[in-house]
């Protein structure tokens, strides 16, 4: 079941910035296609063009789900369209085996005048279903969409959420080998999103899926590998979903250099002592020590340090606060201190730690943030026995109270005697 269904080989795609130039190039492209161009002329940029997708290679096997992430305009959707065969690659070669279905815009081709039921037939056949197939799955589709009472109403009177429900219900019932999903669940209520997501996870088992999303929690849950794109180029392609998501966050200028705001505190050193490798490790339930070396550059003296813990889906899962001892403020230049988190409660996995230097806070008001290092450390946690993907694991144990057991035993016996 591990056959390769998608093979993208050193593929690139260029677009033109200016409309008029783009149209003129279009006419030339028509001529070039008609004389049977070898396609080699397409590999150079003409005036005003840029690479929307540059030299991307990967393959996806059945059962795999490739998460495609990157900032807006990084070429994710273009790449999906190339794999779907809508856009021709300008360089490279793309092979796709089996039936392909794309959840790119749900309900594309819905006719507003026709009823939901009629549109199921139209949309189904656009997606490649035969009338017999639609007939067979009609009830399932309507039931899945959850809009039974509106199904014979014209689609023009549907809300956008209802359209997406119907669109997803149809798309999810198409039998395909390859599924391309482009951020389609932005609309729709929480319940439906959850259902769609479960359906996708289920479909992923025997298909090759490429999943574009800006929701890192979803990527972390469903993807078996991740490709991070920026400005058309592939930054990283790895089965290590956590570190790929880390890379994704580093694409944003505000977070570049892992720093937000003015550089009023310079963090020279930030490490977990005893762990010299790239990924410091801590054992679940033991103490985590973070060593910091920093200098205050501005007027404001920080009073507290926050350590914020993010899981691989970039959700914040925990925070620690420590007060900086007042004596340390006397030191000019770099100060060194260690922050200790006792009984580390996060379950096994990969986390990133953000470090914030801030002014003191009271019960109602947060102190002013002086410096914010977004992902200062990547931390690996080992040693927790867990099967869930919940980050915080509270230590708990069973209490076997001797008195309790002894007191209970005679009763059991008493019960038996009664019988």
């Amino acid at each position: 079941m591990s056959d390769q269904l998608i093979d993208v080989c050193a593929s690139s795609k260029k677009f033109c910035r200016d409309l008029k130039t783009s149209l003129a190039y279009g006419v030339r492209d028509i001529a070039r296609e008609m004389v049977g161009s070898r396609g080699t002329g397409r590999s150079r940029l003409r005036h005003g063009e840029f690479w929307a997708v540059r030299d991307i290679s990967f393959e996806v096997r059945r059962g795999d789900c490739l998460g495609l992430i990157g900032p807006n305009g990084s070429g994710k959707s273009t790449l999906l369209k190339m794999i779907n065969g809508i856009l021709k690659p300008d360089i490279g070669r793309i092979s796709v085996r089996g039936r392909v279905s794309a959840l790119i815009e749900l309900g594309a081709g819905f006719s507003p005048i026709l009823t939901g039921r009629e549109n199921i037939y139209v949309n189904g056949s656009v997606l490649g279903m035969t009338t017999t197939e639609v007939d067979a799955k009609l009830d399932q589709i309507i039931h899945y969409s959850g809009i039974e009472e509106f199904i014979d109403m014209p689609v023009r009177s549907y809300s956008s959420g209802m359209r997406v429900r119907l669109g997803f219900a149809i798309a999810a019932h198409v039998d395909t080998d390859v599924l391309l999903i482009d951020e389609v669940l932005a609309v729709g209520d929480v319940g439906f999103k959850q259902r769609c997501f479960n359906t996708m996870a289920n479909l992923a088992k025997d298909r090759a899926i490429i999943f574009v999303s800006h929701n890192m929690a979803n990527i972390a849950r469903i993807a078996t590998s991740v490709l991070v794109m920026n400005s058309g180029e592939g930054i990283i392609h790895t089965p290590d979903v956590g570190s790929a998501i880390q890379q994704y966050f580093e694409q944003f200028p505000a977070m570049a250099g892992s720093r937000i705001g003015e550089h009023l505190v310079h963090l020279r050193e930030c490490r977990v002592p005893g762990a010299e490798d790239d990924a410091p490790t801590v054992r679940y339930g033991e103490a985590l020590v973070v060593e910091l070396e920093y200098a205050v550059l501005g007027e404001d003296e920080p009073d507290v340090i926050h350590l914020k813990f993010f899981d691989k889906g970039a959700s914040q899962v925990a925070v620690s606060y420590v007060r900086i001892p007042s004596g340390i403020a006397q030191i000019d230049g770099y100060r060194r201190l260690r922050v200790r988190v006792r009984d580390f409660p996060l379950s096994a996995g990969r986390y990133s730690i953000g470090i914030i230097f801030a002014e003191a806070y009271n019960d109602t008001v947060n102190g002013k943030i002086i410096a914010h290092y977004v992902s200062a450390i990547t931390l690996r946690v080992v040693g927790s026995e867990t099967i869930s993907n919940i980050s915080v694991q509270l230590p708990a144990d069973v209490l076997l109270d001797e008195e309790y057991t002894e007191a209970r035993s005679p009763d059991v016996r008493a019960d038996r005697t009664l019988v």
Partner: protein, 281 residues
């Protein structure tokens, strides 16, 4: 398992694969074309009061104009026509509008489906087949207009009316071929969309639709060069007059149309993928 490979090369470089894909897509698109056809017909008439009556109105209106002009002696074009002038104009007009609709259909449908084209990969031929089917459907309805007209003038159709089917189909085909060849350029430049109706208006007046072909003069020369003329003349003659040999150039136009139809299909298939870069939606 079906494997599709996409490369920068033009599809024309691999004619065998191209033809194989064209044939497989054509058979794949039948169900979809039918769905789109039904969708468009339903959507077109559902939000109207007059419904199908709208199909009848264009030929009736234009026919009425020419009949009135002729009756008022403003135009004098009815000489040497074997049937009553209204029958002549109406049948000619129905044939011409079949052609005209077919010319405009491909570009209209490609333009209105830009969103679908840029999001979903389906056999693109289905759009064209559905649109041409819609033109055929409308013109078939219009042919029903001839029934009351025949009754009114106490005419009976001859057996030659069966032959009418051939020029009718060729007209549809020729119209859609022109439309299909125009559509890649129409996707790029809206000029094409604006030019088409204007061009068709002139073309109609240069075609023996409301008059019979003059023997000489500029108009006679133009009518002789005009590929639509023999189709309209023969079609109309077989439909409302009776058996006659096809007018000059009929077979030439018919075979040429068939050949060009295949070429235009190749043009459409090969150029549409590179045009998708330009209709990003």
């Amino acid at each position: 398992m079906d494997v599709r490979t996409y490369t920068p090369e033009s599809g024309i470089r691999h004619p065998v694969a191209l033809v194989r894909e064209m044939v497989s897509d054509l058979s794949r698109c039948r169900g979809l074309a039918w769905r789109l056809f039904v969708r468009d017909i339903q959507a077109q008439y559902r939000q109207t009061v007059l419904g199908l009556l709208w199909a009848f109105l264009p030929p009736v209106a234009t026919t009425a104009v020419f009949v009135l002009l002729n009756r008022g002696q403003i135009l004098n074009v009815s000489d040497g026509i074997a049937v009553p002038y209204p029958v002549f104009v109406l049948s000619g007009m129905i044939l011409w509008q079949t052609f005209g609709d077919a010319v405009q259909a491909p570009l209209r449908v490609v333009d209105s489906s830009a969103g679908l084209l840029s999001k979903i990969n389906f056999p693109r031929e289905a759009l064209i087949v559905a649109a041409v089917g819609q033109s055929a459907f409308t013109s078939c309805i219009r042919l029903l207009l001839l029934v009351p007209i025949f009754v009114m003038y106490r005419m009976t159709p001859s057996y030659s009316a069966l032959l009418f089917l051939l020029p009718y189909v060729v007209l549809l085909l020729m119209g859609s071929v022109i439309g299909v060849v125009a559509s890649p350029f129409g996707i790029l430049y809206k000029d094409v969309q604006r030019a088409l109706p204007l061009m068709l208006q002139f073309w109609m007046l240069l075609t023996p639709v409301v008059y019979s072909r003059p023997d000489g003069g500029v108009l006679g020369l133009i009518a002789g060069l005009n590929p639509v003329s023999p189709l309209i003349e023969s079609g109309r003659h077989w439909l409302v007059v009776g058996m006659a040999p096809p007018s000059g150039g009929f077979w030439l136009v018919t075979t040429a149309t068939m050949a060009v139809a295949l070429v235009s299909w190749v043009i459409f298939r090969v150029t549409l993928p590179v045009l998708m870069d330009r209709i990003e939606a």
